[in-house]
Symmetry: C2
Subunit: 228 residues, 2 copies
Amino acid sequence: MQSRTPHARAGRPRSAAADAAILAATRAALVELGWSKLTLQDVATRAGVAKTTLYRRWAGKNELVVDAVAELFDELRLPDRGSLAADIEGVVLQFAAILARPEARSGLMAVVAESTRDAALRERIRTSIVDRQKRLVLQGRERAQARGELPGEDDAAAAARTADLIFDVVAGAVVHRTLVSAEPADEEWVRRFTQLLLLGLGDAARAGFAGTAGQGGPDGTDARGRDG
Amino acid sequence: MQSRTPHARAGRPRSAAADAAILAATRAALVELGWSKLTLQDVATRAGVAKTTLYRRWAGKNELVVDAVAELFDELRLPDRGSLAADIEGVVLQFAAILARPEARSGLMAVVAESTRDAALRERIRTSIVDRQKRLVLQGRERAQARGELPGEDDAAAAARTADLIFDVVAGAVVHRTLVSAEPADEEWVRRFTQLLLLGLGDAARAGFAGTAGQGGPDGTDARGRDG
DNA sequence: CGCTTTCGCTACGGGTCGTAGCGTAATGGC
DNA sequence: GCCATTACGCTACGACCCGTAGCGAAAGCG
């Protein structure tokens, strides 16, 4: 049964430790140098491997950074916090925490920019980064439907389109807030965003949108100030 | 007293035609080559100027592309379509049309990525691109308040935070849909997004979110298919 | 007509890219 | 234990782009 694995070719196997070291070195280089000043020679030196080893495993800087950044999103989880609003706040805060890290800030938008002219890179980003995030939307909706907070969908195609829409709204808002507006998606912002997403523009305003400041604590310095 | 004008220095004045030619050449190079393969030598050749002229006016590729892309957003307007929903749909469709152009797709995310490590560049993007978009949000809210669709805000600080939130949600959603999900923000998507933004997740679902396809006309080829 | 600034052009050092070539190390098959 | 196969480290290389310096000419202002 051991010979069933397709990777059991003859010859010296690739070092798995080198892979981890290279990806970690890539993230470290992103933190210190950013995307534009990051060179593969520098990454190789940090990882303790030769530059040619990098080119044997990745086609170039784009693919390498995608893999290095993708690992950051492995930690995304959707713990059950009891309500749809709490679930959204929890996962959005996780997403914001990842985007607050400099290695994500520098690398993510750069590879997305490159992907506009490279279909293969775009597909790589989709499978290794985007789909991992989108799964949480589907999971959150299932929970909300089980709780009765959202109605069940009869048309599968329409349900998929709605999930895609919600995903673009949530992920796009956090990314834009963090990277374009360059302001932190802290707990207060996430609370207001969740309220807007759930209630809508008109209802949110009528539900005391202007007076929301008095709802929570006076200052939210710690991200865990509110418990479930 | 003629020397009061700060730009009236002695010597040969800078060619305004060269500025326009350089920015147009930059956009053309973005379309053909994309961000990463764009070189300043190529832009200079296309514009019919010397490379040194580029460095006399812009610090580098980042600043040049910011100015070249910023001109694309000059055409953004907010015509009064009679209702808040129609106003949102109109401006979002304009924004989506700009982001559908390859010179915007390639350049915008690249300079945003670079701006994560360059505060001056971030400020340049904010003043020449972002603020121009954000103004439309404030204008749309004023109209909606005048129509009675939105309540008036008493707290100015809270109102500003709400406008920032809405701006991040709208712009982020369109950008994410267009550049990350890589799917067109067409009229149907914009209609569904507007409904979600106005009604919220719960109300939009209860208001027949799954059956929205039968609301408008059978096919929406023209952006002006729905009137107020 | 002088003074000032811009412009086009050439040339240059420095750096990165991506690849080729070679000898060596590690593993599986026999 | 030996050999074929593959991965690895190292060096070197041409090609390209960057950003700047220097020069003479052009275009305005007083």
